[in-house]
């Protein structure tokens, strides 16, 4: 490891400086997306759903969408934005003419992705709380899930970004990975009720399933033993992916 946090911080500051210049264009679309889902599906479609797991549909949806906001915040930052910095604007080539190491660059990018995750996830959580969909104070325990989910999806996205050479491949990443996760990770319906028992174990591989299940358990106050598995999944998979990203970043940045 050749990591220095003050140097990583300078990478964070670079991104923050640029973001503050263009935040109007960045912040709003990402932030409104989960809010739109919440209103359209929660209120619109939800009117036709009587009870869901003992809750109104919109109450069922809210904790899961907190995790979706975190996933999206991370995914957008470490895909298109990072690809442009890596391959088109050559931002990292310039950074590596200074004392920054590839480890610093990766850590700085990670910190920055987490910052955006917290903005979107936190913003959505605040909206949910405002509408009375996040029972206080117990749902506050789900707030740390925002950076944890973000870290997991930032790691996945960075590994993907470091491996591709063509920006068009992101359409696959989003259509074949992010969107299916969004639809089939228990966000909109309880997976265990709709999936044949023989397939349930496979669904456990889906990365979004775990934060969604945890968030919902925390919101409803019905934490069970499965929460340990959910946390263990994130605690194991995230560092593995981060290690992969780090090795790949070193090879990509110092040829």
């Amino acid at each position: 490891m050749n990591l220095s946090l003050p140097y990583a911080w300078s990478v964070w500051r670079r991104n923050a400086t640029l973001y503050l210049r263009t935040w109007q264009w960045n912040l709003l679309p990402n932030f409104f997306e989960p809010v739109l889902y919440l209103t359209a599906i929660g209120i619109g479609l939800g009117a036709y759903v009587s009870r869901m797991d003992g809750q109104t549909y919109i109450e069922f949806l809210a904790p899961a969408l907190v995790c979706v906001a975190a996933m999206n915040g991370a995914s957008f930052e470490v895909t298109y934005n990072m690809f442009v910095r890596l391959n088109m604007r050559r931002t990292y080539d310039a950074m590596l003419t200074t004392p920054l190491s590839p480890d610093d660059v990766l850590a700085g990018e990670m910190l920055w992705a987490l910052t955006r995750v917290c903005l979107y996830g936190g913003g959505f959580f605040a909206v949910a709380a405002l509408f009375g969909l996040a029972p206080l104070p117990r749902s506050l325990a789900a707030v740390p899930l925002i950076p944890l989910t973000g870290l997991l999806f930032a790691a996945i996205g960075i590994v993907f970004t470091l491996h591709i050479v063509n920006i068009d491949l992101y359409s696959f990443y989003f259509t074949l990975f992010v969107t299916p996760l969004f639809l089939f990770s228990g966000v909109f319906f309880p997976l265990e009720e709709r999936l044949p028992a023989g397939w349930l174990w496979l669904a456990e591989a889906l990365p979004l399933l775990h934060p969604v299940r945890l968030a919902r358990a925390i919101f409803t106050g019905r934490l069970g033993w499965i929460a340990v598995w959910d946390l263990a999944y994130m605690a194991l998979v995230t560092p593995l992916l981060l290690g992969w990203a780090l090795r790949k970043a070193r090879r990509r940045l110092i040829a």
Partner: protein, 300 residues
């Protein structure tokens, strides 16, 4: 040092000692290995074989310590287009962890020194190529480097912008900064640099002070003339004809200690006809042509 990308050799057995305080050029055509050589000096590329020592330190082992003391201007300008020159310099200064107050003063200094004041607060996207290049060079100077690496500093600039940059590079050199630059402009290397290494296909074909290289390898003067191969044979078959000649298409370059004698020989053979030709001192470009083996050597 050597560098291979798969089977392709980018740099082969490049062995250079670059004295401090000088301006040194790596000269060669595109694809000669100049940029790869430069990248190995600051540790952005790892040599496949060999090693690089900068300031007496092994770059591969001490990249941070080495890069803290040098500056690099990349071939392509890497600027944040949405931000102004002042903001770009501040962002870059932070990569070096300069304290904010000192950074502020340094930014002002560089803005003035590279004539960026009139556009200091304008988004970089709105600046001309010359401005952008000067800003890219300013970025690499933000940490007051002892060694400045410039990858094709003036490629694509108009003559006025090039002259301004040359003047600044000379000032830096005079103030004690060591400079290593790559270029494919022979004139740039000749006018700016104390020493040059000529690279071709990844290898260093010769190295030395420009004047010395020229004097060692070629006669002092050159005559350029458009002519056919028959003309050439007719002019230069007599004993004592100049034997150092290069032909590229219709263009023939003849090297001799005295150009006047060559011209006279041509005029006489042409029966007094005044064929247009150019006489000039031999330059680095000629050395390059000679060193890469494209000189036609014929004994008379």
């Amino acid at each position: 040092m050597s560098k291979y990308f798969g089977a392709r050799a980018a740099v082969v057995d490049l062995d250079l000692k670059i004295p401090a305080g000088l301006c040194f050029a790596m000269l060669g055509p595109n694809g000669a290995g100049k940029t790869t050589g430069l990248r190995m000096i600051y540790g952005a590329a790892r040599p496949s074989a060999g090693s690089v020592r900068v300031f007496g330190l092994d770059v591969a082992r001490n990249p941070r310590a080495v890069r803290a003391r040098l500056g690099v201007t990349l071939q392509e300008n890497v600027l944040i287009e949405e931000l102004s020159p002042v903001e770009n310099l501040r962002v870059f200064g932070r990569y070096h962890r300069l304290p904010e107050k000192r950074l502020g003063a340094r930014v002002e200094e560089l803005i003035d020194w590279l004539d960026l004041r009139s556009h200091a607060e304008v988004p970089v996207a709105a600046l001309s190529g010359g401005f952008q290049r000067r800003l890219a060079i300013a970025l690499s100077l933000v940490n007051r480097p002892e060694l400045l690496l410039l990858d094709e500093p003036t490629t694509g600039l108009d003559p006025a912008a090039r002259q301004l940059l040359w003047a600044r590079i000379r000032e830096l050199r005079a103030a004690g900064t060591s400079i290593v630059l790559t270029t494919h402009y022979m004139e740039e290397a000749e006018r700016l640099c104390d020493r040059v290494a000529i690279l071709a296909r990844g290898r260093c074909v010769c190295e030395g002070a420009p004047r010395e290289l020229i004097a060692e390898r070629l006669p002092r003067e050159a005559v350029e003339v458009d002519c056919s191969a028959q003309d050439e044979r007719r002019w230069f078959t007599a004993p004592g004809s100049p034997d150092r000649r290069i032909r590229t298409g219709e263009r023939l370059i003849v090297y001799a200690e005295r150009a006047a004698e060559v011209i006279e020989r041509i005029r006489r053979s042409d029966g007094g006809e005044l064929r247009p030709l150019v006489a000039r001192p031999t330059n680095l470009e000629d050395v390059f042509l000679d060193a890469t083996g494209t000189v036609l050597r014929e004994s008379g």
